[in-house]
Point group: C2
Chain length 346, copies 2
Amino acid sequence: MPKTHPARRTTIMDVARAAGVSRQTVSNAINSPERVRPDTRSKVLQVVDKLHYRPSSAARTLRHQRAGAVGTELNAVADQPSDIALPFLTALTLSAARHACHMVPFASKEAFPLLSGYQDMVRRRLVDAFILTDTHPGDPRPAWLEEAGIPYASFGRIYDDPTRGYWADVDGAAGTQMAVAHVAASGYQTVGFLGWPAGSAVGDLRREGWAQGVKEHDVAAGPEGSAPQSLPEALRAAEDLLDGLAVGDAVVCASDVLALGVHQAALARGWTPGADIGITGFDGSPVAHLHSITTLTQPLDDIAEHLFTILDHQLAGSPEPVQAALLVPTLDVNTSTKITPKKGTS
Amino acid sequence: MPKTHPARRTTIMDVARAAGVSRQTVSNAINSPERVRPDTRSKVLQVVDKLHYRPSSAARTLRHQRAGAVGTELNAVADQPSDIALPFLTALTLSAARHACHMVPFASKEAFPLLSGYQDMVRRRLVDAFILTDTHPGDPRPAWLEEAGIPYASFGRIYDDPTRGYWADVDGAAGTQMAVAHVAASGYQTVGFLGWPAGSAVGDLRREGWAQGVKEHDVAAGPEGSAPQSLPEALRAAEDLLDGLAVGDAVVCASDVLALGVHQAALARGWTPGADIGITGFDGSPVAHLHSITTLTQPLDDIAEHLFTILDHQLAGSPEPVQAALLVPTLDVNTSTKITPKKGTS
DNA sequence: CTGAAAGCGCTTACAG
DNA sequence: CTGAAAGCGCTTACAG
């Protein structure tokens, strides 16, 4: 951007002069309270307040050799951006503020992540670390960053080496198990599952939770089906699945879009979701809320907070291994159609 | 975040030594090519490349008195976050890079924007300017920022004083007019409108475009209805609206959620959207794509780019008035159900 | 065309 | 407990 000369802003010297102390004392009053007499400190702080003084983050960064910023990549090419990407970024932004830093999003139009994009930001000292999202088996980024000595924390397991510990994730199995418990407690007798095609790490775990839940909660396992994350295909798979179910049964789904497919397939055959048939989604996405679908909301605030804890450890050079975290989602029951299920006729 | 001592990174001095010149020459080679002999320059640039040198943005900021960053507020409280918030942030992030700067998102859990949040970021010199979104009549932020001398540019008109010029917006009227032209050209004969309750600035303009389009394209004006931005209410309003329409007619909507309401209401009475009834939404949101609804996609990349042009002008202290921009959306036709409308029976 | 000086704003040792 | 010095990395005048 072109250069200009904006109004001069308040600096530490202005505060020092107004308070009648040296600028080091102002700095100490702010950063090392114990090194300054209480009355001096309060006088300085009063002037800081009056003058609305805030230390320049650039000067601090230069002095500390630390940007106080964390980068995160925005997917600029996804045809279907993740529904929770924005809520998660918001959670990160709020967590960052609590950890005295800020987020710096970046994006590229390349289909695959570029190591150079990550490295450049660190070389320019724009960020100290990264938050990774959408990790998947074969994701090259953890190894890249580790090799380059760049701290990072990942929303989503580091599949190629989960022992690394620099991650927090949603406990998908616990989630779908909770969903089964919920529909069982609501009176549904047979519980089917609609997931993604086998082989996706996240999807397989969510399926496991359903299978486990069915065993534990004294309901019959209904049929299972799968479809990729697109509504027409979810709808088609849901129709097949419903052919094997009856009024009074339920379907636990691996995602909200899949649940929407079941929802619409149910409506198409005249079944009322939440009464004739129980349906649960996964993610707590806007789609679920828009269509009033019961869903498993991911604890994004907790995940963001945990990732910053991981980052703090690394940045502090702490040698102890960091604990990865598996956080349990919250069942977000759609109350608008919370009706006792009608008994099936079959 | 706690302090640490990361590996020392390459500085301008490392480049100077390796190239056998003074550090000022390195700086000139990078920033003022005309002040350096071509062969010196290329030698320096070669070393820069080899050493992967990138100037420290903190040092640059300190020297330039310019953060090279733009803030934007993330709505952390919206029950229903805007569907295009993330795509727009992505567009901003890409535009920012083209203007040699980066975005810094911030958020608060307050229901209303806080001036102090904006001022603090400027005082800490974290950002030079702001991008505003979700402006509305009575929005205090433009006046705040103007008074504080903080540059800004707004996605959305500055309603209280559109002459200010620091904005870019979607031409809502042109959009709905295009939608009418499209359904007319597709053979639909009567075109109704589903909008928001009168009084919303954006909604009223979109309605006007429909009214104008109906006049210009030789179709009959169908009934109009309105509903707030929630699916159940959209569905109810759509049912009423469809009572006044027949197979072979179309409905232009002020948003994608409203269009989804019409879509579902049509399905409920056995009409095939895109054949029995024409439906258009507005925003190009994931909702529209998920449900394959024809929609008016907002030119987010162009808007972002224009906002940065506005910012550049202000930051350069340019005295000429900035041009606000009204950008026309793109009609995103859902090809999956692109069928000639069946003639109505009424 | 090239190089030595000054300074952006801050904080961390260090000396009084 | 308080204050003078040094330096983080860079660039913009300015002098050679």
